[in-house]
Symmetry: C2
Subunit: 414 residues, 2 copies
């Protein structure tokens, strides 16, 4: 079973957009037990598209195309597919009526350009796109399936999840595969790998463990080739073993972010959180507020970048800043006390560190950070030392702070 | 002149990483006047790599490879290149000595695995990598240049800029091309296109205009094929014309972000800024603090997500929140007044809106935002209506707020 992805569009080749669709499709196929054979990006050019289709057909049973279906580019890609599959375009009345209704509703005039998007190749099965005007198209030839989808990521993903993957599963028998994922934080890849060394060596040969580190978190994925309740139970048992070995490093089962796990904990408990950020400069607040519905538990916070804001809004003592400096246990404790006094929040986080490239001192190199978490009753402060560059530090500091808060809420931080 | 990019690595095909190298290389070649012919991503597999090399050789004069050179994968990619170019690996003593020194300095033991990275194919010109242990390799065969580089983005970019591009310019005559870029904000692509309609029609046929919209900004790039002072003067004159037509929409020449332009303005004037954010939830603070050195002019701010923080820290009146609501002119004015009272900042920004998906009311749909900017002397508030989804709204709101502040600082907002 092989699959090839072809992404079409001059904007990819001139670097105007980063092709994120391929990585997403790669993940989806990986979950289905298939590693993509190849990803090919070509321009809006019929000769190149046909060349890519031929190459993909010779190697793969599934060929996924994204992009090149917008109204202005319509002619090239759809026309190329029509030529390739020796078919013709027919107006789909239903699509056309719907399109006219949508335009009318928005008070816009439907253009001839738009009508071309309701022209569908006769030889394909149309996959209705409920989120845009470019329809999905499913062609079959010589046992190979070609699916053409719009390049707009959320339209493509919706088509894949609701229509393409179910249809592919009907037509092909994918390798039987079982996945189990847990998320960890608070330890780097090497610490996790070291902890799991014997566990990994003892894994049955049909179960593999993958480490997928991100800034401050490590995703652990068990993959087993095969099927049946026995194997499912075996994978589940191995996952439990791994969870026990990793203990408090584990923050979730399945793919999930720290900010969303904390959000769920707070909703359960009917509690709230706020933050006082120096070096992370609003990024922790941004992580919290990136989650839809976070207003239920996120109160807000203070970005105390300057000494002035630290003193005036958070009440950090001038003497603290002048004696031990902003990157100190005393400072993050005072920041957090001030924050909890100024708000009616259950929990708070405060962070002060050196993200770089400037601001380092001999005893506080770039990557040094103090983090405090706590409530009105109790505050815990910890110092960390990370290595990477400014943007990476901002992210890794933020994840470290979120993880400390998680442990604090769970009563596991002393 | 054609160029192909081959990115190598199983991690790309399973979607573990998004290939950003290709887009960056696409941009670089676009600046050199060459549109990439094709981007091919293959796994760590000798047969596939050779197939991709052959295809690239038949279409292109320049073939750029990234990835697959880490110590653990070393065998496959470098060995494949050695086979393809019928050469052999030789230990490069200089590279090996340097590597040992670096490891010693860090107190680490150099491993046999690392020694393999000092083995360099005899037939290539080595391009020393000062930022990592995988060296660049330049091969030439039948008039085609193949350059293999590490996949770590900052290592690859540094090699490209300091060594590969200069060498390519020596060897090939690239199409003569002149670029001129200006950045605009405060108007969507359609407004900008409408304003520039006649200008674009009147452009000399050898000068093209491209619109590159992002969330809240539009990059405008003039590209002329050719060379010489006359053409340079012509492009410069057209750029000036465009600047006059677009007036205050123009915020920079060359590629630059709003937060960095504002930073420079503030440094010049020895002034500072802070922000009070509701719906943008810390993202504006994050944009400011993403710029190294921003502590010179960014004081910080308040993320007033809840009513409580709005009232207690910023002093927004309870009666305002209960009568006209948080998404109102009154609220953003009070947020900003409170912020300017609580800090000693020259300028402030405040934002309150509905990022979605929840929180909309019949008269305040998702995408509604009130933004105030100002100083102790004067505050200006504006309402905007945007359309996209939550994450896009957070970004587009933030850019709109930064642009208003820019205009305010320049005395152009009334």
């Amino acid at each position: 079973m092989k699959a090839t992805v072809i992404t079409i569009g001059d904007e990819i080749l001139i670097g105007q957009i980063v092709d994120t669709n391929s990585a997403w499709l790669g993940q989806k196929f990986s979950e289905l037990g298939v590693k993509l054979h190849e990803i090919i990006s070509v321009g809006d050019d019929a000769v190149q598209i046909i060349d890519a289709l031929n190459r993909a057909k010779s190697s793969s049973q599934i060929v996924l195309l994204t992009g090149g279906l917008g109204p202005t580019k319509d002619d090239i890609t759809k026309k190329t597919l029509v030529d390739y599959f020796q078919t013709e375009l027919v107006l789909n009345e239903e699509v056309w009526e719907k399109m006219k209704q949508i335009f009318e509703k928005r008070g816009l005039k439907v253009l001839e350009m738009n009508r071309s998007q309701a022209m569908i190749p006769k030889a394909c099965t149309m996959l209705p796109n409920t989120r845009g005007t470019a329809q999905g198209m499913w062609f079959g030839i010589e046992g190979v399936v070609f699916v053409s989808m719009p390049g707009v990521p959320h339209e493509m993903k919706h088509l894949m999840e609701t229509q393409v993957i179910p249809k592919l599963k009907e037509k092909f028998s994918f390798p039987k595969i079982i996945h189990a994922t847990i998320m960890s934080a608070g330890a780097g890849e090497s610490v996790i790998a070291n902890t799991l060394n014997d566990f990994e060596n003892d894994l049955p040969s049909n179960i593999k463990l993958a480490y997928l580190p991100d800034l401050g978190t490590v995703k652990l994925r068990l993959t087993a080739s095969g099927d049946g309740d026995e194997l499912k139970n075996e994978v589940a048992a191995q996952k439990e073993k791994m969870k026990i070995l990793l203990g408090d490093f584990v923050y979730a089962e399945g793919e999930e972010k720290l900010e969303s796990v904390i959000g769920k904990l707070l909703i359960e408990r009917n509690e709230t959180v706020s933050c006082a950020e120096s070096c992370t400069g609003g990024y922790i607040a941004h992580l919290f507020t990136s989650v839809p519905g976070s207003s239920k538990y996120f109160d807000g916070g203070v970005v105390s970048y300057s000494y002035d804001v630290k003193e005036k809004i958070l009440g950090v003592k001038n003497s603290t800043l002048n004696s031990v400096g902003a990157v100190s246990e005393e400072c993050v404790r005072e920041m957090l006390e001030g924050l909890l006094k100024a708000t009616v929040t259950t929990y708070g986080i405060s962070v002060s560190g050196i993200a770089g490239p400037d601001g380092a001192t001999p005893d506080k190199p770039v990557g040094t950070v103090w983090i405090a978490v706590g409530s009105k009753e109790k505050i815990v402060a910890k110092k960390f030392q990370f290595f990477p560059s400014r943007m990476e530090n901002i992210r890794v500091f933020s994840n470290a702070a979120l993880n400390l808060l998680r442990l604090f809420i769970l009563g596991k931080l002393n």
